[in-house]
């Protein structure tokens, strides 16, 4: 893309969107949001970055092949379900712990791990499709 303005703004916009996507993912349990929406926002961020700076740059930036990210997400979601099984309760039962870090109580749960898995699957699967389309489309 030739627009200088777009090329200049795109990295900042993408980073902000990426940060926002994680925020949306984490707040999802109590406010509108969650893994699916967060994942879609992250994909949009990657797509914008890709349009501005080329697919290769994006692929270098995310370090892993997008499908590997999706696979890790699916694994995380499955493990989140299996942890409950290991704890002797039915598959996918939500388990919570409340560790205290620097005096602040932080609720952690298998549900959160699961939602993170959803986020990663969406990011990986859809961005892998979008990136490969961008790559070929530019030829």
């Amino acid at each position: 893309m030739k627009s200088v303005i777009f090329r200049t703004v795109a990295p900042f916009l993408s980073s902000l969107m990426m940060l926002f996507s994680i925020f949306v993912l984490l707040r999802g349990h109590n406010e509108p949001g969650g893994g699916f929406i967060g994942g879609l926002i992250a994909v949009s961020a990657l797509a914008i970055y890709g349009i501005a700076h080329g697919v290769e740059t994006v692929r270098r930036a995310i370090l892993f092949h997008p499908m590997a990210i999706a696979g890790a997400g699916l694994l995380a979601a499955t493990v989140a379900g299996l942890i409950s099984l290991a704890a002797g309760v039915p598959f996918m039962t939500g388990l919570w712990i409340y560790p205290s870090v620097l005096g602040v109580e932080i609720p952690l749960s298998t549900v959160m791990l699961f939602d993170t898995g959803v986020y990663l699957v969406v990011v990986g699967a859809i961005s892998s499709v979008a990136l490969s389309l961008e790559e070929r489309g530019g030829e």
Binding site: G28, H29, G35, F36, L40, G81, M92, S109, A130, G137
Partner: protein, 792 residues
């Protein structure tokens, strides 16, 4: 362990052995055969323990429930019939494993071969031991599959691959008929086990479905047991290594059909249909097989065709319905397994040691291979029906069954004498011609076979002798229980080596005399048969090729018709169906919504959003190019998302926003990638039907939604989630809690689908245009090859 657990183990043991066979062979080479042969030997020893009980007329059943709700079990039935079969399968199986050790010595895939043959053995003994229909069918198909692997073992050769496929198609097709027959039997009787079926026989014969069951079962049995005109796969299966021919095509697999007929004889037998169809096909197979055997010069092919005639003889005897016929079938089945197995192995030895199995190229081997000669002679004497071998007893009993004075018996007796005399000639041609006469030069310098090769046939030939010498014991332990099981009532076999002057002996003498005459004029007979067959030209073997070609061509035609590969055709069909379903249901059931209630006090901003949505739709239709249409679709989607937001569904709305954004991006990318023409060039005559389909779908969805929202809202789920979302799942956002917690397993499935869909799309995107072209060109070549073949 109790006897039931041991029997279960014995039925599964060959499969376990098949798992370790390759590793063991890599470790020990051909000597692995000595260890692997212990498996069938152990099975043999286990089933030997049932002999005293079964010879007292008892029936041993056992098993485990499998799918109790369908009355399906894994259960076995050990009576005289199945016990004889199991002992033959495991006993000969042990010898065959040893023989394969010598025969395939040094073969790079010997371990795989052991594995296949053990799997086959397990399937075959499972088949004959089965009590439940389903188990019989599963094992029946397993024998087809394993024999496919064995016949095609030498898969580098075209002929072997063709023979394997042919055997699979013919016997597998027959298996489907059998399945249908068994299912009807199950439906009619409500019984799923052979042991319970006996008491149902008379009712079944009255049933209007009797003929259907009979024909379907015969379809299965005749294909498996190579009855004319389904016999052609058996001689072609001689492409397999000789141990396979000796095992599958003499003693075991081809007898499965005969076994089935014998097993069902008490239930289906005795009717006019049974007594017409079985003897008719049987005797046709007997004579055709014997005549075709004479035509051949390849030792294995000669044996294959005589096997076909022996199977015909067995089918004929099973259906004959005369006194002594069942007893004769039982005796001949055992005798045949022993002598034919031995002769096949002898043919393999000759092939292995001389490099040729063509009768006209062999001669004078008696001094080089005296032991093989003796074994061959012993087996041939039994096959020719000469005393003091078991075959003699069988032949006497056959003629006893055929010696009645009515026309039917006389015709069958005459044809049987013809078939038997031809088989006599073939037997001695195989046992004498390669060994007598002047020494012929062969590709290899002949030596006596090593012990692994001669042990099997020697044991079988000696067994044929010893069973006859101790005929009283053999009858009490084996023949009589077997005949009783086939007949469904107690039978006793009395025949002994002491000949009684009478009609049977006379027929025997005629057979031997005719056999000697045929033997002396074998070369002339062969020439005559060759001329006849050449004149005839067409045979079932060629018919099979024509059938397969027609099948492939019709499959191609059907695929081309329904899978055009054009996306617009698929879309049109799909949406026509959607419209039909949406519109037909309200018409059929009168479920139309009431006239919708139009609110008059819509706030201005809501009205504006709706106008934007409609404007987006209009813009799609009038858009000059595709990119504008895509963006307009996005506009419409954003408007809908706004409506969601206004009506209290922020999660849904956010998702919709993101999806719309990404759809526009992805669609635009797809458009550039596909290099479509920038605008839509459909002619009007295509646009109008598309418009009609779109309107019908829209109307249908409109009606459906109005009707659905017209139903009083059931708030129980809403209440449940509102009440428990925070207290149980620690989350205030009900939508998210449902997705990740209450219905988390659903979500797990959904993200799996997302991932798989992503992989599939990625694969499609990556398909290079060149690869596509290559694949298309390959398909073209296949089609062309078929055309060329046809023209040739």
């Amino acid at each position: 362990m109790d006897i039931a657990a041991l029997t279960f183990l014995a039925l599964g043991l060959p499969f376990l052995a098949a798992l370790v066979a390759p590793a063991l062979t890599r470790l020990l080479g051909q000597n692995a055969a000595w260890i692997l042969a212990l498996v069938p030997a152990a099975v043999f020893a286990h089933f030997l323990r049932f002999v005293p009980e079964v010879s007292n007329g008892e029936i041993v059943t056992g098993g485990y429930a499998w799918i109790p709700s369908f009355n399906v079990s894994f259960s076995w039935l050990i009576d005289g019939l199945s016990l004889t079969f199991v002992l033959l399968i495991s006993g000969i199986g042990a010898l065959i494993v040893l023989y394969s050790g010598g025969y395939l010595k040094g073969h790079p895939h010997q371990g795989r071969f052991f594995s296949f043959i053990l799997m086959f053995m397990g399937s075959m003994q499972g088949l004959v031991a089965s009590d439940s229909f389903l188990m019989l069918f599963v094992f029946w198909e397993l024998t087809s599959i394993t024999s496919f692997l064995l016949i095609g073992f030498d898969h580098g050769r075209e002929a072997a691959r063709r023979a394997a496929l042919q055997a699979l198609v013919v016997t597998g097709g027959g298996g489907l008929l059998l399945l249908a027959g068994l299912l009807i039997l199950w439906n009619v009787s409500g019984i799923t086990q052979f042991s319970l079926l006996l008491s149902f026989g008379s009712e079944l014969k009255q049933s209007p479905f009797y003929l259907a069951v009979l024909l379907l079962v015969l379809g299965g049995a005749f294909t498996k047991s190579a009855q004319f005109p389904f016999h052609f796969w058996l001689p072609n299966a001689m492409e397999a290594p000789t141990p396979v021919s000796a095992y599958l095509h003499s003693a075991t697999m081809v007898k499965a059909g005969v076994y089935l007929l014998m097993r069902l004889n008490p239930v289906l037998g005795g009717t006019p249909e049974w007594q017409i169809l079985l003897p008719l096909f049987g005797v046709a197979t007997l004579v055709a097989g014997a005549a075709l055997a004479v035509r051949q010069t390849d030792l294995k092919l000669m044996l294959a065709y005589t096997t076909m005639s022996s199977l015909g003889l067995l089918v004929m005897l099973t259906g004959l319905g005369e006194p002594y016929a069942i007893e004769a079938a039982a005796l001949y089945l055992v005798a045949h397994a022993l002598f034919k197995g031995a002769l096949f192995m002898v043919a393999g030895i000759i092939d292995h040691e001389t490099g040729s199995r063509n009768l006209t190229e062999l001669g004078g081997l008696r001094s080089a291979m005296p032991l093989t000669f003796a074994i061959a002679l012993g087996a041939a004497l039994s096959m020719g029906g000469l005393p003091p071998f078991f075959g003699f007893l069988a032949k006497e009993e056959i003629y006893a069954a055929l010696s009645a004075a009515d026309l039917r018996s006389i015709v069958f007796a005459a044809l049987t004498i013809l078939g038997n005399a031809l088989m006599f000639a073939v037997a001695f041609a195989i046992a004498l011609k390669p060994f007598l006469g002047p020494k012929a030069s062969t590709p290899l310098h002949p030596h006596e076979a090593p012990v692994q090769l001669w042990l099997g046939p020697a044991v079988l030939a000696l067994k044929g002798l010893s069973l006859a010498l101790m005929s009283g014991l053999a009858h009490r332990l084996i023949s009589s229980p077997m005949a009783s099981a086939i007949a469904g009532e107690p039978r006793s076999v009395e025949i002994s080596l002491v000949p009684h002057i009478g009609a049977p002996l006379l027929l025997s003498v005629i057979t031997v005399a005719a056999g000697v005459a045929f033997y002396l004029s074998l070369a002339r007979l062969r020439g005559a048969m060759a001329t006849i067959l050449a004149d005839f030209g067409w045979g079932p073997d060629r018919g099979f090729d024509q059938f397969m070609r027609a099948l492939v061509r019709s499959a191609v035609a059907v695929t081309r018709r329904f899978q055009s590969g054009r996306l617009d055709v698929y879309m049109t069909v799909t949406f026509i169906l959607v419209a039909v379903v949406l519109l037909a249901v309200p018409f059929r059931y009168g479920e139309f919504p009431r006239a919708p209630f139009f609110a008059t006090d819509v706030p201005l901003h809501e009205l504006a959003i709706m106008i934007i949505a409609v404007a987006g739709l209009v813009a799609i239709m009038v858009a000059p190019d595709r990119l504008t249409a895509i963006v307009s679709l996005g506009v419409q989607g954003f408007a809908v998302a706004m409506i969601f937001l206004l009506y209290g569904a922020p999660d849904l709305s956010f998702t919709q926003f993101m999806i719309e954004t990404l759809s526009v991006v992805v669609l635009a990318l797809v458009m550039t990638r596909l290099r479509l023409s920038p605008s839509d060039h459909r002619p009007l005559r295509q646009k109008l039907p598309d418009l009609a389909i779109a309107l019908a779908c829209g109307l249908g969805f409109c009606l459906l939604l109005l009707r659905a929202t017209g139903v009083p809202f059931n708030a129980s789920l809403t209440e449940f989630f509102n009440q428990y979302s925070k207290s149980i799942a620690h989350g205030a956002n009900v939508v998210n809690v449902i997705i990740v917690d209450f219905r988390g397993t659903d979500t797990l499935g959904e993200i799996t689908v997302v991932m798989i869909a992503g992989l599939a799309i990625l694969a499609l995107v990556r398909l290079r245009a060149g690869a596509l072209k290559r694949a298309a060109a390959g398909a073209e070549i296949v089609v062309n090859e078929q055309d060329v073949e046809e023209r040739v």
